[in-house]
Homo-oligomer: 343 residues x 2
């Protein structure tokens, strides 16, 4: 920790500009009550000297806290690191720090992380990733966040609608529907689903979309194999093994995110089942590597980086009383992992 006295302080700038500490502070933080002329002089001096305010002192004195806490399900999952990229971009523009926390898709752990962030007095909390269907924990989390907001904290969530905060929301149901429609149009009927971590609303929403498309074609999701494992590559592997073992006639697998799709593809490759000739595979999210898998993955694209950017921008804007919702677009990206159902 740099020793005191060693760094430029606001007094130094003030002195050099021939004004008081108070005036210098006002000038630099854009408060009014300072003549344009003086304000200009202070800013110039500060620039020349390379002054940067001590964020700890600033926050302690009651200024806005300059750190934003970002809670994600899994830091090294590309879905979340792309979101983080967007958040960091905006934060850098605004001179904000970003503190990233990992919740491991455990609602209790997530709540702990949020409580910790609040105790740390971060000014903004961003929560990325699916909500939980366990309404008890979810309600507790929501209560915690409400208290935080009523104290002036700012919150935005990404891909979650249950926390009573501003939200950036992809339409998971429509995405799921698009995926299923695509497969149905290709003539697939023996469709299986590799579903993600149980207890996540993303899973239920995407599944609902799939079910609705199926119904439109006279099929019932309840009669098709839906294997719940985990939203990871490993989860995809396990699901694929089970699907192929129990339902060898399957011609298409819907993985509810790209990580799982990668696991599914790995299993098919290992079993030398050709994709898409014998089995078609689709994912969800369009993480950047999806295009590089072989075969390249048909999936629903979510604009992750932009979602991160939007979420922070939303949290930064003065809050109205009602939570705002920013729907995000999604597009079906058809690549080489899907093809006509085999005869």
């Amino acid at each position: 920790m740099p020793k005191p006295g060693s760094r430029l302080r606001l007094v130094d700038v003030a002195e050099r500009a021939g004004v008081s500490l108070a005036t210098a502070s006002r000038a630099l933080s854009g408060r009014d009550g300072v003549s344009e002329e003086v304000a200009d002089r202070v800013r110039r001096v500060s620039q020349e000297l390379g002054y940067v305010a001590n964020p700890y002192a600033r926050t302690l004195a009651g200024g806005a806290s300059s750190t934003v806490g970002l809670v994600v399900h899994q830091v090294d999952d590309p879905y979340f690191s792309e979101i983080a990229g967007g958040v960091i971009e905006v934060a850098a523009e605004q001179g904000l720090l970003v503190q990233i926390c990992h919740s491991g898709r455990d609602p209790h752990f997530e709540l702990r992380q949020i409580r910790h962030l609040i105790a740390q007095r971060v000014g903004i909390i961003l929560i990325a990733g699916s909500g939980y269907t366990d309404t008890r924990v979810e309600a507790e989390t929501k209560a915690e966040l409400s208290a935080y907001q009523s104290l002036g904290g700012r919150v935005a969530v990404i891909g979650r609608h249950s926390l009573g905060a501003d939200a950036v929301l992809p339409d998971n149901e429509a995405g799921g529907r698009a995926l299923a429609e695509h497969l149905l149009a290709l003539g697939h009927r023996r469709i299986a689903v590799a579903a993600g971590t149980p207890g996540l609303t993303t899973v239920t929403d995407r599944l609902a979309g799939v079910a609705s498309a199926l119904r439109g074609h006279g099929l019932d999701l309840a009669e098709l194999p839906v294997v719940h494992t985990d939203f990871t590559r490993e989860g995809g592997r396990v699901a694929a093994e089970r699907i192929l073992g129990d339902h060898p006639g399957t011609t298409a697998v819907i993985a509810l995110n790209d990580a799982m799709a990668m696991g599914v593809l790995a299993v098919l490759r290992a079993r030398r089942i050709s994709v898409p000739e014998r089995v078609s595979v689709v994912g969800f999210d369009d993480v950047s590597v999806a295009a590089d898998l072989a075969p390249s993955l048909t999936t629903v694209r979510l604009p992750m980086t932009e979602m991160g950017r939007t979420a922070l921008a939303l949290a930064l804007k003065p809050r109205s009383n009602r939570p705002r919702r920013r729907p995000t677009g999604h597009t079906l990206v058809v690549r080489d992992s899907t093809g006509p159902a085999p005869a």
Copy 2:
């Protein structure tokens, strides 16, 4: 920003425990000069009340700053996000914040980021990613960091030996050699290199390893195509196009990182050149998706997550006078993207 007065302060804890503010502070931060009995009482009360110190006040008052700045070349590159994962893990254990900055592989921008972190008074700075061969900027960066360290700041670098700080160092040269040896053993002679961003020491080191292996087999790297583009997937694409255009007889491509290898594979796939039958491809790093590409990628594994962990652990340990170096192991991982040279 939570309003003042709304949160538990240390005085509250002190009062409740029947001791002075000073004693409470000492008890909680483990300073001595407090009897075990009193310290215990304070800790218990603090626990009961759910007290969490205000990090801004703590830092301002001269305690250790609890944030670590992590500078990476590119936030959403899996190589760096895996390193970040390791750093965040250790940071969470220690109750530290992690602030991630993006340098975009530009040494000047990187220096600016570092200066900003220093001005922000972070207590620890971690720098991940290759050094720059431009010794001027590198020296300037080093000087800045030395000043910071002499003021008590802590620094550790990952994959870089030029900054006079504690370092976690993969052996890029040996890795490059292993890759080339592997291809040579398979009978390849017409080898091309898709080299990364010019001006990075990682590029020169890995190349040096390749050159040394080639020499051992009577070949000269200077006579083989080495295309310098950029350490990204797109860079790999461009390099591959050029290599295939100018040297159609090439039987093996060494990409100097996995991202580039992905670009190379994409081009080969587009041109329907089968891998590894006609052309073998190798990468470097073993990012987690390397195993899922098709064909899965032969590469040199670096333990990224562990490197991140080690770097922070190193920075946390009391500093000796000489910079410490932690070499990291690497292993050649042979997968399906390499095979015998075609006759």
